[in-house]
Symmetry: C2
Subunit: 459 residues, 2 copies
Amino acid sequence: MLRCLLPISFVFSISVATAQQHDQDSVQLRKLADEVLTHSTAYANLKILTKEIGGRLAGSPEMYKAEQWGVKALQAAGADTVYLQECMVPHWVRGDKEEVRIISKRRDFVPPLQVTALGNSVGSDPAGITAPVLEVSSFDDLEAKKDEVKGKIVFYNYHFNPRFIKTFHAYGDAFMYRADGASRAAKYGALAVIVRSMSHAADNFPHTGAMRYNDSFPKVPAVAIGLEDADLLSDRIRDDKDMKLYLHTSCRFLPDTIGHNVIAELRGSEHPDEIITVGGHLDSWDVNEGAHDDGAGCVQSIEVLRAFKALGIRPKRTLRVVLFANEENGTRGAKKYADAARAAGEHHLFALESDAGGFTPRGFTLTMSPAQRAKVESWKNLFLPYGLYDFSEVGGGVDVGMLNEALGTPMGELSPDSQRYFDVHHAASDVFEAVNKRELELGAFSMAALIYMIDRYGL
Amino acid sequence: MLRCLLPISFVFSISVATAQQHDQDSVQLRKLADEVLTHSTAYANLKILTKEIGGRLAGSPEMYKAEQWGVKALQAAGADTVYLQECMVPHWVRGDKEEVRIISKRRDFVPPLQVTALGNSVGSDPAGITAPVLEVSSFDDLEAKKDEVKGKIVFYNYHFNPRFIKTFHAYGDAFMYRADGASRAAKYGALAVIVRSMSHAADNFPHTGAMRYNDSFPKVPAVAIGLEDADLLSDRIRDDKDMKLYLHTSCRFLPDTIGHNVIAELRGSEHPDEIITVGGHLDSWDVNEGAHDDGAGCVQSIEVLRAFKALGIRPKRTLRVVLFANEENGTRGAKKYADAARAAGEHHLFALESDAGGFTPRGFTLTMSPAQRAKVESWKNLFLPYGLYDFSEVGGGVDVGMLNEALGTPMGELSPDSQRYFDVHHAASDVFEAVNKRELELGAFSMAALIYMIDRYGL
């Protein structure tokens, strides 16, 4: 019996110790939540970034303003050091012309469609393109109609699927039409493509976003249209067989230019050479204020540092806040950060990103070993009072993904409620007013809480 | 060994059977979700209720229009029967005068404060009230200053507490100032009260809502002001000792009038005499469109019936949709429903309410026996793919609460994400545009899913 009891007693004493530790952690997390919910500067910072600077695509004057703002905001938050990490960034500009019009013999007036060129797209001929339009519902449909494509503008009318509960799954499902639609159609002789926006929004905003060319085929212009116009265009195509479209865009690449990651550190007290990264991306599309995407992630990352500092929490590991350059159309900032980390032989314990919107958090996606994941999940009861219950999905973010790729660094991404994200994603509606103060703050707290636990207990 | 194995095998066969059942349930829930997310009429119904009818306080012409709309909407959803259940309702009217102005010898111009009379409040003297103002931070503070109250207007500047993660807890904490503030101050001779709105909103909308008088003390007028004006008023009180306020309201009660619960049924196939109620309240405050409060709950309840009908799900028990009259300032509809149920000896299995906003659902509050709660919680894995994880709190809704009180009926309420609810609650900002289509639909699906399971397995 004694031999049987000893291990039980041993287990008991461990679990009491763990319980006591977790009581302390619970108190610390509560302090972090109180601090963020009462004294956060995230919302005020977001207002400056969105309203005073605005859209900040790589290479734009606003990108430089945002970098300078980032340095000051991180200094004000209490960072030990703040510095810029230089990298070359692409410099795509929209130009002054974006027009798609229906050319019809019918006498009813149809105003020009609301369009936005897709990021990285070439522009049209200076005189624009006038051509018949071929609607396809999917790539399968395109293949079935490939003999009809030549000399036409292809309209991808693939619907964002409402059946996915998490809207990011609908995005994953539809993304390829925006990304690859132009080259897939150019392969069969298309002159340009129009893509139905990836959104559930009950409005007509077109949603831009990066596309990419397959160098095997001609580069043709690509634009997005909003949902109402997509339905209208589809109706017109069905009803008016002689209809043509006039498409005119003037977007183009200028030479690459210099951009910067903005980096700040709170130096670790026990293991300063072990680095925990937390970040969002500083660039945004040019058509909006980049509020949810990804002003929110930037100000939340800054808030993590501010809250630690304000509460006198000196991390054991070095906490590094990174405002990444050029996530939207090149990921050059993240590549630079990962390359530099590898070149310097840095030890990265964990990297956390916020780039899924400033909505009420529900958990985190995680990419790490099963043992590491189990460790994080063992903290679930500490997170649950804050509405964080979902640790089920594998994931990270695009930016910390580069670090994961380069060094195998375990990574994660904040998982906010996703229902409204694609209403505003890459559209003119992604503005400061679309962000709720408390939702933003709860996200910042959640990030601080996860980082607090990983800093304290390792991975 | 055999005696030992038998029970294990027995348990195994039960769990296989349960697993198979739950596979079927999982398929049915998926069908319900698909149906609601692709064919819901909830959002379109909400648009009619909010935009074509608008605010619909008990006794108002809009209340009658809403009742007629409810009948038609439930018929269109496919109900077996739809009927009106008559009840007397209070008839409080705001009148045409709501004004609070700062009277000061200082020369700077301060526009009138944005105010709204609290529901059920008496109006001021026809000429208005001019009096000094006493700011108190809480009832404790009022007690400490009770000798200073006489002849003054008391300003309750109690702050909505941002530390509560679920905003309903902040509401529970602050509610008493709106509800009881007038009589508590009148006890010491106050002439009127002004209440800081119960909201986290970053705006200046005043939030109305029901108050109640203690008949032992004089009835004095009560109004709410928005957060910006509350801060402004507090600053002025501190800086300008001679300041007075002019307060003028013309709200009053007219004689009680006739209203109706709107009730629809899908008759049960196996136990038609067992009733499952699902509902929201049809009335709203007069200052807004009653979109989240509680147009959302009404159209979600209608959607539950529509989705069942559209999928050919005939419930075993009778599903009864109730659009309750007069939740906001009297609860007369719910009282009538509960009284009638008791008088008729009806058997109510469960009652579900949606009256916490049309936001993304996170779970349900439940009031039932521990065994019943355990049964619901045993279905958690079926709900989790839809973001429903939180069954932890005791609760129901105000309307189904009456049934629970009268008959002990187990009850629940949809728990949506609460972060934005009190931004718009009882304020002019609670309009159709504040409701997101998918968030509303996910709530409707969640209600349908819980009712499907309780109908199928009982409680």
